[in-house]
Amino acid sequence: MATETRINTETVLEVEDLRTYFRTRWGTVKAVDGISFDLRKGETLGIVGESGCGKSVTMLSLMRLIPTPPGRIVSGKIILDGDDLVQLSENELGKIRGSKIALIIQDPMTSLNPVFTIGDQVEEAIKIHQDIPKRSVMEHALQVLRKVNIPAAESRMKDYPHQMSGGMRQRVVGAIGISCQPKVLIADEPTTSLDVTIQAQYLKLLKDLQKDSDMSLIFITHDFGIVAKMCDRVAVMYAGRIVEHGSVRDIFNNPSHPYTAALLASVPKMDVDVDRLFSIEGQPPPLHNLPVGCSFADRCPVVMDKCREAYPNRSTVSDGHTAACWKLE
């Protein structure tokens, strides 16, 4: 149920030909290999893929949190609000992280420090980026916690993370994420550890927050259900590259890359009886030893000789909908 967002053409984030490689004992791992996308104001972009497809490394690259060594952003641009994040120094990045671009990660257990209270941690996030007097820091923190619907926020500020349930902790992580009104909020599988009904609460909360502040969201996920519910546009990743990119309806109604189509056909449906799921045989190739040509060729149901010779270019399927497949050329 993607929301009909007002068409807004103002671009907040632009990623151009980003490449992040890791040097390992097996050779160079091209975790992210030349991806480009942009993100408009108030829009939600979903980056979907299986584990090892490079979606988490994309997220870390956007935050410039790639562990170096072994990883390195080899080339590309990440333009946020006029600044190229790839060129910025660690000091300058410190000012941007959390205030312009923020992150919510999947494990609420490890993303909160167990020895500080919830209040301390939210206040800390505010103090780093905003120069406001001490008293109003607390008030601001309280406001943020209320915004993420934490009941009895005033008394809960004195609680430690272990005193809260998983859903509540995830809300606190969300509160820290939005505390400085970032322009871009990246959510990396924010609901995988939550129960279905708690997940529904949390997703609704994220949507409401987005509507209030007009921020842009990037959802990193493996779940097409989350994409269908939350996203306006989708980038499907496979083996370090974006294989298909388009609006959520383009992707669901007219999947043009065989991988996207196969993946969608292999997911069981809530609303219809399916007799037999399509099953993609084999498994993703190891990133340190990618085949020449299209990396999906070995599993592709419609593979051609050409596919094993060179990687296909991006072809336009319709306006704003591209896919990298030889079938489309």
């Binding site: 040097r23 004992r25 490394v57 060594p69």
Partner: protein, 346 residues
């Protein structure tokens, strides 16, 4: 979040990191500790074949001979009938002088050897009873080896069995065993050992018993911790679902998972056992003389240190130190190698 990065090994480009890489390469094999430990084991195994002298018998005339590379000392002394009180240091009696030179008469000046020179016959010198220090160190290695192996075998097995039981059954079994471990921590081991030796007499058996009492809790605790994790693995539940007996689960599914930890614990414990055995021997509560043990050798030589006879204590002391340090280095290396999870511990 960085799940994709797990298992990626670093190949460092900066200078600092390159130095670290070289160091890591050096660390890959603990060459020096392994060599020293090999030497100790070899000495222990083949002591009768390689030791140049009988370690328990010496000639009194050969006593306090320094290591081979040290020279002796001589002095010019006046041969007199009777030593005078004040000039004793520069005089020698006629009777003694005749032993060295049959032609000596009163009033002659004679060159007398005041301290003997080292000789290649006794590479590391001799002790106050004329026994060869090197041979005693070689045989001492054998004692250390026997004590370590027996203690580890007996104490370790007790610890492993109790640890398995405590971890697997939990409840009162666990509670009782862990309180026993606490009690052990509160008992002054050396005092107990001294009391036992006074009442029962010195013997190797007593020392091994005391050491077993000392080390089993460490094994029990480590194994228990490991079992607590392993017993919740799904494959253990699945074995139960298939009808596996408790013995099968413990010895086929759980025990093999603790072996890596056990090897590490055992290596580090050997160092402690050798150190303790030496301490007890030093205090006279260890291996009964004249059997050579490193600890009692240090004790033998300690009152000669002031007289410049330093080699009796120093060489066995060095042997203890090098062995224990090697064991600890080797143990640390093994720990890193076998189980990266343990790196944070202790």
């Amino acid at each position: 979040m960085a799940a994709d990065l797990s298992g990626i090994i670093i190949a460092p480009p900066t200078t600092m990191a390159r130095a670290a890489g070289a160091y890591r390469k050096f660390r890959r094999w603990p060459v020096i500790p392994l060599f020293l430990l090999g030497l100790v084991v070899f000495a222990g195994l083949f002591a009768p074949l390689i030791s140049p002298h009988n370690p328990e018998k010496g000639e009194l005339k050969d006593r306090n001979i320094p290591p081979a590379w040290l020279g002796g000392e001589t002095a010019l002394k006046l041969v007199v009938e009777r030593l005078s009180i004040n000039d004793r240091g520069s005089q020698v009696t006629l009777r003694d002088a005749l032993v060295i030179n049959p032609n000596a008469k009163v009033g002659d000046q004679l060159v007398i050897v005041t301290k003997p020179a080292g000789s290649t016959k006794f590479l590391l010198g001799t002790d106050h009873l004329g026994r060869d220090v090197l041979s005693r160190i070689i045989y001492g290695a054998r004692i250390s080896l026997i004590v370590s192996i027996v203690t580890l075998g007996v104490g370790g097995s007790i610890g492993v069995v109790l640890g398995l039981a405590a971890g697997y059954y939990g409840g009162w079994v666990d509670e009782t065993l862990m309180r026993l471990v606490d009690i052990k921590l509160a008992i002054p081991l050396i005092l107990i050992a001294l009391v036992l030796v006074i009442t029962l007499g010195q013997s190797l058996a007593i020392i091994v018993t005391v050491l077993c009492l000392f080390i089993w809790p460490r094994f029990a605790r480590q194994v228990r911790g490991e079992v607590l994790q392993l017993k919740n693995m799904d494959y253990v539940s699945l074995a139960k679902v298939s009808g596996a007996s408790t013995a099968r689960i413990l010895f086929i599914h759980i025990f093999p998972g603790t072996i890596n930890t056990l090897i590490v614990v055992a290596t580090l414990q050997v160092g402690i056992v050798i150190l303790l055995e030496s301490t007890l021997s030093f205090l006279g509560a260890g291996v009964p003389p004249p059997t050579p043990a490193w600890g009692s050798m240090v004790a033998d030589g300690r009152d000669k240190l002031a007289g410049g006879v330093w080699w009796i204590s120093t060489f066995p002391g060095l042997a203890i130190m090098l062995t224990v340090v090697s064991l600890n280095l080797f143990g640390d290396w093994l720990r890193d190698k076998l189980d990266p999870r343990l790196r944070q511990m202790e």
